[in-house]
Amino acid sequence: MCPPEGSARTGKEVNHARIERAAHQTGWMRELIAIWGYAQRNYYLTKRYFMWEVVWLVYSTMNALTIGFIGVGLGGSPENTARTTTFLLIGTMVWSYLSMIFDLLSETVSWERWEGTIEYTFMSPASRTTQLVGMGIYAIVYGMARVIVMLVAISFFFDLSLASANYLGAAGILAICSISLVGFGMVAAVMPLLSPEKGQQVTSIVTAVLLLISGIYYSVDVLPGWMQPLASISPVYYALNGIRNTLLEGASFDSQWNNIWPLLIMGLIFPPLGLWLFQRGEHFAKRTGRLKRAG
């Protein structure tokens, strides 16, 4: 703006200095600043909606407790009860974390539409890759923090069967799966660009299907025969298998290769596929006028 009294530089000089700096700023540095910008903005939003965050956290924790008590209610020997309860709670917590990542990523466009900022964001020089990476990083950190709080709360209520648990192995599998889910979320994020009115609903259906086919509260063996192969396209299915084996049986990370390699392949395919689809979706939206007007 116009400089205050006594200021040494005029607005024009400040502009020129900024342009020179921008001309010499490396592309990756600019994108790194923007990635931090997206993650920080999401943190600010979480802070502003803090009471809602508390409400959802309490709801999710109560939901996890309810599922845990279903395990207790099934009865049997103390060992069996502990094992059933642990089986159910692993499913609950892993789903809580992974669905959070998927939802945050898939709502990338919808958030901007709700707030009316989509055009401001899409005309900025920060790339879509940057936006999705920033959203992904925040989703992982936020999801982890949320699950840790839930775990602490739940640990007061149940005897869990974790005597031989391999926590590091489970964390490794979860980390690999996080990358797949970020990519999966990127693929879903394109939906609201293709159809502003119905796209977000489609991503909710994807979430519901993942919940059904991934074996979160039951083994996929109980699904109808025609439905069971669907589990093989869900990264959540492999993550749950691996995590349950490492936590309940104390299996080593290496022994879970049959669950890890599909996750690695999905982790290699989904993020670049998601970015490519998102860029195609953005081009389509810009050609057909489907970006929201506000902004």
Binding site: P4, A34, G37, R290
Partner: protein, 282 residues
């Protein structure tokens, strides 16, 4: 793009034969822009006057890389904005009729975020935010308040401040004063004049306010149904459409050029926003 390249460019903006159609209904198309050509010199303010639905917002969207034209060339400081959007996005910014902010976030949080999208770090942006906000008469003690607590006029001024933070050489203003009370409107107009005087930015201003166009712009174009039917200085337009000794007002120029008053044109206008809304609803 360096400062020398920007200063060496013939025009801040050059549009050549821009065409844009949107699908309307099942089979039809609406012409949002029909062979629009114009130039904007460095440091110049060009106003585009037209009723709702004349294509003003589509024009701004095409320049700001948010809508791809069907045909034609968009050059920003000599660089093709359609083929190389990333190169030009850094040097332009836009303020639209609705201040696009995260309403629950504070002005400081919104400004920090907006600056980072343009590669401006906290170290650089924070001192400038204070300087800019104090420059526009914003009570800095309110910098932590959510945007939704601020008046619309103040939100628009902060939207202009956010643009300034990224040092744009081309500013795109899409009806920035529409819907503001008279005092806020005057404040925002004064701010635009100060930006122009102090920052050497070129400005493309879309408005349907005749007085605003006359007061702020070096040249004024009249856009109707996607066609730029005239463009000249306010005085030039008045001479062009005047008869004998009679010097028409800008409103009379508009009526003579379009064959209708601005109010009538707004009713009859084939609103490009409606067209895009229909597309979105599909």
């Amino acid at each position: 793009m360096t400062l020398e390249q920007i200063q060496g460019a013939r025009h801040a903006l050059e549009l050549r034969n821009i065409e844009k159609k949107f699908k309307k209904g099942r089979k039809g198309f609406a012409n949002a822009l029909n062979s629009v050509s114009l130039t904007l010199g460095r440091g110049e303010v060009v106003g585009i006057l037209g009723p709702n639905g004349s294509g003003k917002s589509t024009l701004i969207r095409v320049v700001s890389t948010l809508t791809l034209p069907d045909a034609g060339v968009v050059e920003v400081f000599g660089i093709d904005a359609v083929k190389r959007p990333k190169e030009v996005q850094r040097y332009m910014n836009r303020v639209s009729v609705e201040a696009s902010f995260f309403k629950k976030l504070s002005s400081m949080e919104n400004l920090i975020f907006g600056a980072k999208l343009y590669g401006v770090s906290d170290r650089e942006s924070k001192p400038r935010i204070r300087e800019i906000l104090e420059g526009i008469g914003f009570d800095y003690q309110r910098v932590g308040e959510p945007m939704e607590h601020l008046s619309r006029g103040m939100q628009q001024k902060i939207a202009l401040a956010r643009a300034l933070l990224t040092s744009p050489m081309l500013m795109l203003l899409d009806e920035p004063t529409t819907g503001l009370d008279p005092r806020s409107k005057k404040d925002v107009q004064t701010l635009i004049q100060r930006i122009r005087a102090d920052h050497e930015s070129s400005i493309l201003l879309c408005t349907h306010d005749m007085a605003e166009a006359e007061e702020l712009c070096d040249r004024i174009g009249i856009l109707l149904s996607g066609k730029l039917i005239a463009i000249d200085t306010a005085e030039g337009l008045k001479r062009q459409f005047g008869t004998g000794d009679h010097v028409p007002t800008l409103e009379q120029v508009f009526m003579l050029a379009t064959g209708t008053s601005l109010e009538d044109a707004e009713f009859a206008g084939d609103d490009d926003s409606s067209v895009e809304d229909e597309v979105r609803a599909a």
